[in-house]
Symmetry: C2
Subunit: 355 residues, 2 copies
């Protein structure tokens, strides 16, 4: 697909959560229709999509019908089963491509990839037995964090080790899943870069945001982030390097720790990113539209930051603040239409324009 | 309905064009689902709506089922048949209310209403026979414009008279429909105010925009408009006066001519307005969200203008410029997903941020 998609073309999105929802709105703004593929009934994206297929990722018939109904396929999350991707890829282009998914689905492969690119990560070692964990503790050191290699998000599938004796408890917490031990490194703060790349190699990055987490979940992103000029340049160059190596098409999120020894890459996400939600009210073209533009073969838009913004997530019962926030000056509310409030569930976010 | 709508509530929208489309997106942002009612198949709003009923305004069963499926009803156009409103109103609240529709559906009733409020309009007279037109020409004067009393938009159903002898031709152009003769007044430019009012009487108006038309269709809206401080105050006060008198709930568009004798009201539209599209990129809360907030019983948001903007409509083949515009700095594109390009059809618009 070298040509850009025409108005009225259909974009398939794997996953119907809030990211798929906001992608669908951005696609509509450019005249495209979105078809959501999501196993759970009534997903948030269904409220603003042209079409929804509710089927599992094991349902090859549904996957094939979905692929045939669209012109290009993208996704809102990286943990799509490989078998589903195999079925889809035969029928329509998947953007970003398989290589980005293969790398970001496994923490070891991802860290190897980053180090091979010359980027720094925290010291790490693969773990699949208690013995290997004990050896890893010796090479990596403590304090450290043990994480499942696959399917972790928002702090799930993680266990901290402050001393070598924590090994057994941490290993058991992995419930037999292949894991990675990562050294807990000293950093002053976390930043992230949301970047975009087109099929012809054009790259544009939004201003880095500074992230604060609570209970393992992103709480706020503030732009501009506290970074020196050279750190800012590094952050953007690292992101471009990653995208170029992957021949990437779409938006990527790159999380970085700011340390006394430079920037260390925490992780990458081959999709629009929670830390890029501020762009909805801080830029003329936001991360969702930038992703759709790249996926659709359009040129990237103007992602220059026109305002300073603090994005804050509404997690669980935080969403009850929405009414109060609605009357606050300089606040833009973005709710996801989720009726059931549960602890830790992302219900919405708001962007506060600072200047 | 005194309480505000809860997240997940359903808002019914009569009309599935681009205004319904952008209302649906704004509603989703606040966690609401939209149900579109539209006689034409595949309307633009369907791409971003939770649900669509494709049925005529004469279909009482479909109207009743639609009303029962939603919590409140609003609309994107004022020419909804009275019989349909009668059916709907028995089942669910319609916002803005019937009085606003009754007045804006008929140019004579509208002008009488405005003059009774103490606002100025162009001199006018009702016309239903050629004899009456001739009398009207004597009282109103020429140059003048003959318009159908009902169902006119974008310059349709209008005929100009430069001299009394044009009467017959102009009368025939009305094809027997009841009409109004309006004197063509001298004005330096046209401005419009997009205002909003809630059920508890809170009023907020966006900054007035300055409008330029081509071939009877809005071409550009520029904010800020060229207005003196007192003209600006008058424009907003007139709009508030109109909304208060109507006990209005929602967003209204008020078009005004700037003349040496002050502001003259051209017409009012009880809905979101093309001249308010600039708010999507010029304000934290845009006209579509402001309308949904009012209709849903929420408080109004912060509609302060943070940027100067020029909105330009993409009419007919103008839309082919979209790709070129996509690469332009400070330009935000909004396409309506219409595949068929026809002359005079509104295909999209773009907002150029000036500062």
């Amino acid at each position: 697909m070298n040509d850009s998609l025409k108005v009225g073309s259909n974009i398939g999105i794997l996953g119907g959560g809030q990211l798929g929802r906001m992608l669908s709105v951005a696609a509509a703004r450019l005249g495209f229709r979105c078809h959501i593929y999501e196993p759970s009934p009534n997903p948030p994206a269904a409220d603003v999509a042209h079409c929804v297929t509710c089927a599992s990722y094991e349902d090859r018939q549904a996957l094939a019908a979905f692929a045939q109904a669209v012109d290009v396929i993208t996704y809102e999350f990286e943990n799509i089963p490989t078998t589903a991707l195999d079925t889809l890829e035969k029928l329509r282009p998947i953007r970003p491509g398989r290589e980005a998914l293969r790398i970001s689905q496994d923490r070891i492969i991802e860290k190897d990839f980053l180090n091979n690119l010359g980027l720094k990560t925290a010291p790490y070692a693969a773990v699949d037995t208690l013995e290997k964990l004990k050896t890893a503790i010796e090479t990596v050191g403590v304090p450290a964090i043990l994480k499942t290699r696959r399917f972790g998000y928002d702090g799930k599938g993680q266990a901290q080790l402050t001393k070598p004796e924590d090994a057994k408890k941490a290993f058991e917490a992995m419930q037999g899943q292949a894991s990675v031990l990562e050294k807990l490194i000293q950093f002053s703060h976390e930043v992230s870069v949301v970047g975009a790349r087109t099929s012809n190699g054009d790259v544009a990055c939004f201003d880095p945001g500074e992230n604060i987490h609570r209970d393992g979940i992103l709480h706020t992103t503030t732009v501009p982030a506290r970074l020196t000029t050279s750190q800012r340049t590094d952050a953007v160059l690292f992101t471009a390097k990653i995208m170029n190596k992957l021949d990437y098409i779409g938006v990527i999120g790159v999380e970085l720790f700011v340390t006394s020894e430079g920037l260390i890459v925490n992780e990458i996400a081959p999709r629009v990113h929670n830390s890029g939600h501020w762009t909805q009210n801080g830029c003329v073209v936001d991360q969702f539209e930038q992703h759709i533009r790249a996926v659709a073969g359009w040129l990237l838009g103007d992602g220059t930051r026109h305002s300073d913004v603090v994005m804050e997530n509404l997690i669980g019962t935080d969403v009850t603040k929405a009414t109060e926030l609605a009357r606050t000056k300089n606040v833009a509310i973005h709710l996801y239409g989720k009726e059931k409030i549960t602890a830790g569930r992302k219900m919405g976010h708001f962007n506060r324009i600072i200047s």
